[in-house]
């Protein structure tokens, strides 16, 4: 279990606001964090990782990572972190990127296999596509067998097809490793597919905290097409210039209010 209490002044576009929240996350949960930009999502992840200073209490299982007297450095926190920009070690091959974290060849090979990267293991990051880079980044984050996996908009730089594929891979990896995960994402499809819990932040505060499917979500988008796939439906929407495919059951489709 992870307990988090945080209080930090943020200097955003609208002046100073407080990131002030407390949160309890159960082992194995997949939490998706969303909210407008500047609402403190990334800062929250960075504070958890120990990359940013804050007035915080962080307890993971029985271990205190941070409180008034203790502040574990980032190196000592058992986390994996994946950002939008991959942040791979450019001087190392795919395999070396993984082994740099932990000299565990068995785990590295297993992860590379799961992510369909085995054939690319001797390539340098420069010669990989965006989707491949991000898969390496996710595998690398899991090499430490972290207690907490932090994903900061990991799929937002990828094209829709690659997004869908990686969503599936994230799901497979989460199923296998049961790593407690917090992911920042705005993508309804990601929320739908991956989240066991959805938290919305606004100006540094939690304004909703619920299960993903309970009452859906509100989306500002244009419906392009509704397709029937077997018994279910697929609804294609256009949001901020990007086509997003959301699978829906018949009941859900009937419940949609436009």
């Amino acid at each position: 279990m992870i307990y988090l209490k945080i209080n930090k002044a943020l200097h955003g576009a609208k002046g100073v606001m407080d990131l002030k929240l407390s949160l309890e996350i159960q082992k194995g949960e997949f939490v998706v964090l969303h909210g407008k930009s500047g609402s403190g999502k990334t800062t929250l992840l960075r504070v958890l990782a120990g990359l940013e200073e804050a007035d915080a209490i962080i307890k993971v299982d029985s271990e205190i990572w941070q409180d008034a007297s203790i502040n574990l450095p980032v190196q000592k926190r058992e986390i994996g972190f994946v950002s939008q920009n991959y942040a791979l070690f450019e001087n190392m091959t795919v395999e070396q990127n993984l082994l740099f974290v932990q000299k565990d060849r068995t785990l590295a090979n297993h992860l590379l296999e799961l992510a369909e990267l085995t054939e690319l293991k001797n390539r340098y990051p420069k010669n990989l596509s965006g989707g491949q880079k991000q898969r390496v980044s996710i595998c690398r984050a899991l090499m430490k067998k972290p207690k907490l996996l932090l994903l900061d908009e990991p799929l937002s730089a990828l094209d829709p097809a690659m997004r869908t594929k990686l969503q599936q891979e994230l799901k497979t990896l989460h199923k296998e490793f049961q790593t407690t995960t917090i992911m920042v994402s705005h993508n309804p499809s990601e929320i739908y597919h991956l989240a066991t819990r959805v938290i919305e932040l606004r100006e540094g505060k939690i304004i909703s905290d619920k299960e993903p499917q309970s009452d859906g979500f509100i989306l500002d988008a244009e419906v392009v097409e509704i397709q029937k796939v077997d018994q279910d439906y697929k609804i294609i929407i256009l949001q901020e210039g990007e086509l997003i495919t959301v699978p829906l059951s018949k009941e859900k489709l009937e419940n949609i209010r436009i």
Binding site: A49, F81, S83, F89
Partner: protein, 235 residues
Amino acid sequence: MQRISLKSMDTALHFEPFVLSFELAAITASILFCVALPLAWYLSQTRSRKKPFIEAITALPIVLPPSVLGFYILWALSANSPVGAFFEDTFGIKLVFSFTGLVVASSLYSFPFMLQPLQNGFESLNKEMLEASYIAGKSKFQTVFQVALPNMKPALLTALIITFAHTVGEFGVVLMVGGSIPGETKVASVAIYEMVETMDYTSAHIYSAIMLGISFVVLLLVYLFNARQTRRFGL
């Protein structure tokens, strides 16, 4: 006239000044790499208000006339100053008009040429990549040597080569602090100056051409290497 040209034939065959120049440059570059590396890293990572002051002080050798720098160094290293007196009393080392003194002077003179490329190199690295190394559990030391430096080889090479070349090419400070003692402080640039002064143009031509040739080849190698790195890693 006859005697001068005979002497010039004689000196033209001596490569001692070059050996001395390269020895001085190699030692200076090695020392500065060790000293400037931690400072360059600190400056690239810090948000301290001290940063501009440190940057200004360390950049001084670029703008100060060599005579000013040479004068201060000479004054600081002479037996009349605490530093000079300390070295002479404790280690029995005379810092002015000696090779050791030249190393000290060159290290001060060439400092920004090592510091700035390294600092720029560190600053141009993807911050998230460095953080990924910390998240992987690696210390700052491991991060610098296993992640940062291998990803900024062009900057690293530029720092080393420019420092080396700049030390080979220095003249004013070396002349003031070292004088022109053959085999001890008479480096190539000083030797050429003396040849011109004594109107030994033949030797001056030969020495200068050698300097020109070596400098060009060194710089060409740096740029060729950098171009190759860019193609290979997209650095």
